[in-house]
């Protein structure tokens, strides 16, 4: 078996009285879609934030492609080609959709204007942004120059997802990417996830939507009370089983190498 893309062991994160991650393990394998499911507050967001450097765990170690890493900020993760769609989206409200898509990797004009005056190529960025949103089926965005704060909740989520998919090279973490999306737009995101997997880029997908999870996931990581309860193969279990495990209604299977 090849080295897992991400491997984390014994991660702990406490906030004062509150234990967000409690000695949890984590594993993402090459080319797979790994779904992470669990109750609200189980610690799903916390563990992926620990992986990408958005929070620093109190204990535990994280290996990326077998090499131990310790990110001090998500920028370092990003420079390795890791993209994250945060649950709270991480968009700059007053900036336009195009500006948000390109923060930190803007396109400059060709020729001397770009080279010496460092002038941005706004038309190119706007065209690219519009194309990506169209791919996602977000046809209701009326102007690509709109500030993000004027978008509907779902439109914003679309922007964040489009950004991650466009720029990732190592893997993508998506924290409930379809939560605010409509039926049509959710479908497009699921298709996008499959496209990205086809490009060989693995994906961590946190979601509460069981049909979606069972449709796209290769493996399901079930999180409960701050730690990994088990991982299951969606082909071996039903949605009812998964829900029963994650809510504590049923005992999980003995941890296997699934």
């Amino acid at each position: 078996m090849t080295t897992p893309v991400v491997q984390a062991r014994g991660i702990v994160k406490r906030y004062g009285h509150v234990t967000a991650i409690d000695h949890s393990d984590f594993e993402l394998r090459a080319g797979e879609v790994l779904a992470v499911i669990g109750d609200n507050g189980a610690g799903k967001s916390s563990i992926v934030k620990a992986i990408c450097g958005a929070t620093t765990p109190d204990e535990g170690e994280i290996l990326i492609e077998g090499k131990p890493v310790r990110f001090n900020s998500p920028i370092e993760a990003r420079e390795m080609g890791i993209e994250i769609v945060y649950q709270n989206l991480a968009l700059s409200p007053a900036l336009s959709i195009a500006d948000n898509m390109f923060t930190g990797r803007e396109i400059r004009k060709e020729g001397w204007q770009g080279k010496y005056l460092r002038m941005l190529d706004k038309p190119a960025m706007e065209k690219f942004a519009r194309d990506k949103l169209t791919e996602l089926g977000l046809m209701t965005v009326q102007s690509i120059k709109q500030p993000v704060e004027t978008l509907s909740g779902g439109q914003r989520q679309g922007v964040a997802v489009a950004r991650a998919a466009a720029f990732a090279t190592k893997f993508i973490i998506m924290d409930e990417p379809t939560a605010a999306l409509g039926v049509k737009e959710s479908r497009k995101v699921l298709e996008l996830i499959q496209d990205v997997r086809a490009r060989g880029i693995p994906i961590i997908l946190i979601s509460h939507n069981m049909p979606h999870v069972f449709e796209v996931a290769d493996r399901i990581h079930i999180h409960r009370l701050g730690k990994r309860l088990c991982t299951i193969d969606p082909k071996d279990y039903t949605m009812s089983d998964a829900v029963a495990f994650m809510t504590g209604a049923k005992e999980p299977p003995a941890e296997d190498a699934a």
């Binding site: 991480a90 500006d99 046809m139 039926v183 069972f214 449709e215």
Partner: protein, 360 residues
């Protein structure tokens, strides 16, 4: 199990119809607009026009009150000269306020650097270009100190610059011994320090190089903020620093460059102030910090960061200049000038807010 059948086909049953869904970008007919609505629309899309309108209105108001003298080319160009130094400080201040910071030390940096230039160029007799270069580098270094304290030690900008203000002010008094350097001595030993006091005159107006410099500084900063990636990052940081960090901006590095640039602009203003004032005085521009902030806020730049155009600060500075000049020409007593300027600040910003609101 009813759900185990679905994964192989495409999603849940009710999603099958999606293939036929509409694929046009939403568009609505543009409505017939009244003139007022059109004006509102223009203002909405060009918020910088608001201070421009306030400026024009106050020009007219004072033209009426203070009479013809006010509108003479000489007086109008004089207002520009009087505004030029505070205008440059306001440009530096805008940069920082756009990042949701505030800099109480701008005027202190400016005065300190002019004192350093004077000490080196006049008192120690070094070649003037070297004196100027040291001053400019010093300005950037002072800004860098602010920036590093804010980003590395994570101090709030207000308290950082309140502290460095005292520090720079004390250094200034120490270096100058609270003594001015006389205009005549500068003319003799380092006339280049007065470069920005030179002027071209036409039709009664007198445009000093300092005024040209101020406009140029605003132009360059406007370009940097609006046409380069750095500028977008500055706005993004002011808007939501955490979001900016998470979406891949090196916020600390960008912030340090912002404070350095602001310090440099302050030092340039220090150089220009020698031309404007004639001598180098460690005591001048004591209220420059508040004045620069006033100009920025009247210019429609939000103190909460991320919003507003730097050009607004230019117009804000001019509005204040016009008020002050107009009141003096109208012969208002100093005491009531202070009173009136208090009201006029409030009213100017109220008009600004009101125009923005109807156009929202």
């Amino acid at each position: 199990m009813s759900e185990s059948a679905t994964p192989t086909q495409k999603g849940q049953d009710f999603e099958q119809v999606l293939d036929q869904s509409d694929a046009k970008v939403a568009a609505f007919e543009v409505k017939h607009h009244t003139v007022l609505q059109r004006i509102q629309h223009v203002l909405h899309n060009n918020p910088t026009l608001v201070p421009v309108i306030v400026l024009v209105l106050s020009l007219f108001a004072f033209g009426l009150i203070a009479g013809g003298k006010f509108f003479s080319p000489f007086n109008l160009s004089l207002i520009m000269q009087q505004v030029s130094i505070i205008g440059m400080l306001a440009a530096a201040q805008s940069l920082i306020i756009i990042t949701a910071g505030i800099d109480l030390s701008v005027a202190a940096i400016m005065v300190l650097m002019s004192v350093i230039m004077g000490n080196l160029g006049v008192n120690l007799g070094l070649p003037t270009p070297i004196a100027i270069a040291v001053g400019l580098i010093g300005g950037a270094a002072a800004g860098m100190m602010n920036g590093l304290l804010i980003t590395k030690i994570k101090l709030p900008p207000f308290i950082t610059t309140l502290g460095t203000w005292s520090i720079f002010f004390a250094l200034n008094l120490w270096l100058s011994g609270a003594q001015s350097i006389r205009s005549q001595d500068i003319d003799e030993k380092a006339p280049l320090l007065k470069f920005f006091g030179n002027a071209v005159s036409f039709g009664g107006a007198r445009i000093t190089f300092g005024v040209v410099l101020m406009v140029a500084i605003f132009g360059v900063l406007w370009y940097m903020l609006n046409k380069t990636a750095w500028g977008r990052h500055v706005y993004a940081i002011g808007d939501d620093k955490d979001a900016a960090e998470m979406s891949g901006i090196r916020t600390d590095r960008t912030l340090v460059t912002v404070y350095m640039l602001a310090g440099l602009v302050c030092a340039i203003a220090g150089w220009a102030s020698v031309g404007r004032v004639g001598s180098i005085s460690p005591q001048s521009f004591y209220e420059g910090n508040l004045q620069s902030i006033t100009a920025v806020v009247i210019g429609g730049i939000s103190l909460f960061g991320g919003r507003g155009s730097i050009m607004g600060a230019l117009f804000g500075a001019l509005i204040v200049g016009v008020f002050q000049s107009g009141l003096r020409l109208a012969g208002v007593d100093v005491l009531w000038q202070v009173f009136a300027i208090g009201w006029l600040i409030i009213i100017a910003v109220a008009i600004d807010q009101w125009i923005r609101r109807v156009s929202a």
